[in-house]
């Protein structure tokens, strides 16, 4: 049973109905109907200003839709139940400057009632190469390390929906491979994973691709380079031009 088959069989983790978002007179997200099921790994592609971050932040409950609704596992996005199920990794890592990475992991896990964080933290930090940095403050981290730490914070707590906004930015190639494995494992466990990205390799391992342009959904289907490119304007087509043929 493929991820897409499983998604079709189970109730959706994320369900958007007529979702629309405007900033003053700027349309950031056109009316959008979308369903993402458990086990799906979705690559969300589009150029700058396409509406990717808006979609993710609305799903995370950080931004409210102008019209329409978005539900996470049946609960309205931003509600307590939805927050318990949604993990959001922002495009810019956010840390308390006076707490170490380990303290971040502890409190974020405990805020989500994940009491087994002590056992799970080493398994997260070690592959990301952060095991020596647990006691350090975030201001001692490089850009890439901040990104990796942010990813660790997103994974330390339980979730049914993982929203990752440009998570590959700033990562070195080995870390990118680790992240790919982490995303795959999360989807394999039954979580819905949505990764917004400019990076073409995401399309390689995703089970579905959603393309946005100027806030409009222009493609929703298998992550096939040629098909996606056909649905995007030429300048966005460059985004997927070098996707290697899936093997």
């Amino acid at each position: 049973m493929t991820a897409t088959d499983r998604a079709a069989a189970d109730p959706p983790v994320l369900a958007a109905d007529g979702l629309r978002r405007e900033y003053d007179d700027l349309l950031a997200l056109a009316p959008l109907d979308l369903a993402v099921g458990p086990g799906e790994l979705v690559a969300l592609v589009g150029s700058n200003g396409a509406g990717k971050t808006t979609l993710l932040t609305v799903a995370a409950g950080l931004v409210e839709p102008s019209h329409g609704t978005i539900h996470i596992c049946g609960a309205l996005a931003g509600s307590l139940e939805a927050r318990a199920r949604t993990s959001y990794i922002p495009d810019t890592p956010v840390f308390y400057q006076d707490l170490s990475l380990n303290e971040h992991l502890e409190y974020i896990a405990r805020l989500h009632a994940a009491e087994d964080w002590r056992d799970r933290a080493p398994h997260l930090l070690e592959p990301l190469g952060l095991q020596q940095w647990g006691d350090k403050l975030p201001n001692q981290f490089s850009r890439g390390m901040r990104q990796k730490a942010s990813i660790a914070l997103g994974f330390i707590r339980p979730f049914s929906l993982l929203l990752a906004d440009e998570p590959f930015d700033g990562l070195d190639p080995p870390s990118r491979t680790v992240l790919v494995e982490m995303l795959r494992a999360a989807a394999a466990e039954g979580a819905a994973v949505i990764v917004s990205t400019h990076r073409t390799e995401v399309a390689d391992f995703s089970s579905r691709c959603i393309a946005l342009h100027d806030g409009q959904l222009v493609y929703d289907g298998p992550p096939d380079r040629s098909i996606i490119a056909g649905h995007l304007p030429p300048q966005d087509g460059l985004l997927v031009a070098d996707v290697p043929e899936s093997g």
Partner: protein, 544 residues
């Protein structure tokens, strides 16, 4: 690990405990970083200088008792007038709440705490209580200072004036903050906020006109003046006013869960930048960030279009604005900027002019320290008026590419703002006239208008164009750089009015004394302007 949200009700307690532990860990880290000897020394200095300032203020107050007519006025309208002040503060609070204020969270709190399955009301309550406490304390201190002013001029026991002044000050601050919390937490629509604000202010205006005490705001005003007529009145009205404030605070604190995360995130980012700007004393950045925090953005459509019309009307326009040279271009550009001022800025600048007028009147009548309030009001208004120069300095390359010397551009930029500040001076004059200023003072304020406009503008321009990193290694020089323009305005406003007052008290011409002083103020303004133009010209990338 897949989340199971079915049992989240049971997990709330452990999440809240985690939140408490998080806060406590952060407090421990903070306490570990504090240099307690240094903090004690600062407190010691604060107490010494605070006490000294209080003694100075107290001593500077001439014991001019208000006359019978003024006392009668205070009896009749004092409570409603103070109530109007409360109503305006509450309206401002509602407006702030409608834009996401008053809480300023840290970005990690928004990301990690408010996105966690924790009751947001509980998560925000501590911060809100701290804000209420701080605002209440500051209001209390200001109220105490006002109490000192009051008991030296009005009948009544000093202790009662101090107590009522302090409680009134605290209550005003808490009511403004509580109304902001209500508007923000309960997500009041912008229209609802405007209607509520209009009703609250309107009720107080009606009280003032009708010489009554019916609104809760006027009841608080009655609290402030209770020492004056406690023999005739019960404490019921003031107590009712305090009860309304308490209810508002409770309503504000119980509705916190509805706070918009979008606004919280935006404010968190801006507040972080603002803190850095304050640390570096970067006044220009502070002004711009404060405007963003208050969502004070230029109007999309100007109050009045300045673009030249077409056809026959264009020919008339050309007659009115015959030259296309840089002088006219800059003059027009500056007015285009002013004509896009949002309503709140227009009202603020007008209110600052009125405040300056009332303060000068109080100075004239003997309350000397209010000269500081008049000077600060004019300086703050000048910070708004000087915006076109700020824009030039923000874009040094564009300035350098102009076929005109940078110094000349800056000098030209002072013309339109001076006109605006002269308008502020006229508002001050009109307010003083309405408040019953004597002819001598009106003449003095009119004489002061243009030189003070020039001085406050050039000093404001000096402040916003200071290089915040020029004295990073010598912070004392940085403080001097920041304080010098303010000191100049205080001297430029206070000197003439105090000397004119002195002349009037000795039977000499107040206006004559003011004219002599204003010549010096004018000369200082020209010197500051010349330095400003030189400094900006020296800073642009291509020397003109």
């Amino acid at each position: 690990m897949i989340a199971d949200a079915s049992g989240w009700g049971a997990n709330q307690a452990s999440s809240l405990q985690a939140l408490r532990d998080l806060r406590s860990a952060r407090r421990r880290h903070y306490a570990a970083q504090v240099d307690w000897i240094e903090a004690g020394y600062r407190l010691y200095l604060g107490v010494i200088f605070g006490g000294w300032a209080l003694a100075l203020i107290s001593g500077a107050l001439a014991d001019v008792r208000v006359d019978g007519h003024a006392l009668e006025q205070i009896h009749q309208r004092g409570a409603a007038a103070l109530g109007l002040l409360v109503a305006v503060a509450v309206a401002a609070g509602l407006r702030s709440g409608g834009r996401g204020g008053p809480l300023v969270l840290e970005a990690p709190d928004v990301q990690h705490v408010l996105l966690a399955p924790v009751d947001r009301g509980a998560a925000l309550r501590g911060l809100a209580v701290r804000r209420l406490r701080t605002a209440g304390f500051l209001g209390l201190v200001l109220g105490l200072i006002a109490g000192i002013f009051a008991f030296r001029r009005l009948p009544g026991r000093p202790a009662e004036w101090l107590l009522c002044g302090g409680v009134f000050g605290g209550a005003v601050a808490v009511s403004a903050l509580a109304s902001a919390l209500i508007a923000s937490g309960r997500r009041l629509h912008r229209v609802v906020i405007w209607v509520l604000a209009a009703l609250i202010v309107g009720w107080s205006v009606a009280d003032f006109v009708g010489q009554r005490v019916t609104s809760p705001a006027s009841m608080l005003g009655a609290l402030a003046l209770w020492p004056l007529h406690r023999a005739n009145e019960s404490f019921v009205l003031p107590a009712a006013g305090l009860l309304v404030v308490t209810v508002a605070a409770v309503l504000g604190l119980t509705g916190l869960a509805g706070t918009s995360l979008e606004a919280a995130r935006r404010r968190a980012g801006l507040a972080a930048q603002l803190r850095f700007a304050v640390t570096t004393q970067d006044l220009r950045a502070i002004i711009l960030l404060r405007r963003q925090l208050a969502s004070e953005i230029p109007r999309r459509r100007p109050w009045l279009a300045l673009a030249p019309p077409d056809g026959a009307r264009r020919r008339r326009w050309r007659r009115l604005a015959p030259s296309d040279g840089p002088r006219n271009a800059i003059w027009q550009r500056d007015w285009q900027s002013f004509l896009r001022w949002p309503l709140v800025r227009v009202l603020r600048v007008g209110a600052l002019g009125a405040l300056a007028g009332l303060s000068l009147l109080a100075v004239w009548r003997g309350t000397t320290p209010l000269v500081l309030v008049a000077a600060f009001a004019l300086m703050v208004a000048a910070f708004d008026a000087v915006e076109p120069i700020g824009q030039e300095v923000d874009h040094p390359t564009l300035l350098a590419l102009l076929p005109v010397g940078a110094g000349q551009v800056i000098r030209q930029h002072l013309r339109a703002p001076t006109t605006v500040m002269a308008g502020v001076g006229l508002i001050a004059t009109a307010t003083a006239i309405v408040a019953g200023a004597p002819a001598g003072l009106i003449g003095v304020i009119l004489v002061m208008t243009v030189p003070t406009a020039l001085l406050s503008l050039s000093c404001a321009a000096l402040s916003v164009t200071n290089d915040p990193f020029a004295y990073v290694l010598a912070p004392e020089l940085g403080y001097f750089q920041t304080g010098f323009p303010v000191a100049l305005v205080v001297i430029g406003v206070g000197g003439p009015v105090l000397l004119a007052r002195q002349a009037a008290r000795h039977g000499a011409s107040a206006v004559g004394a003011a004219v002599a002083c204003e010549l010096a103020v004018f000369a200082i303004s020209l010197a500051v302007m010349a330095y400003l133009a030189y400094r900006i010209a020296a800073r642009v990338p291509v020397r003109s």
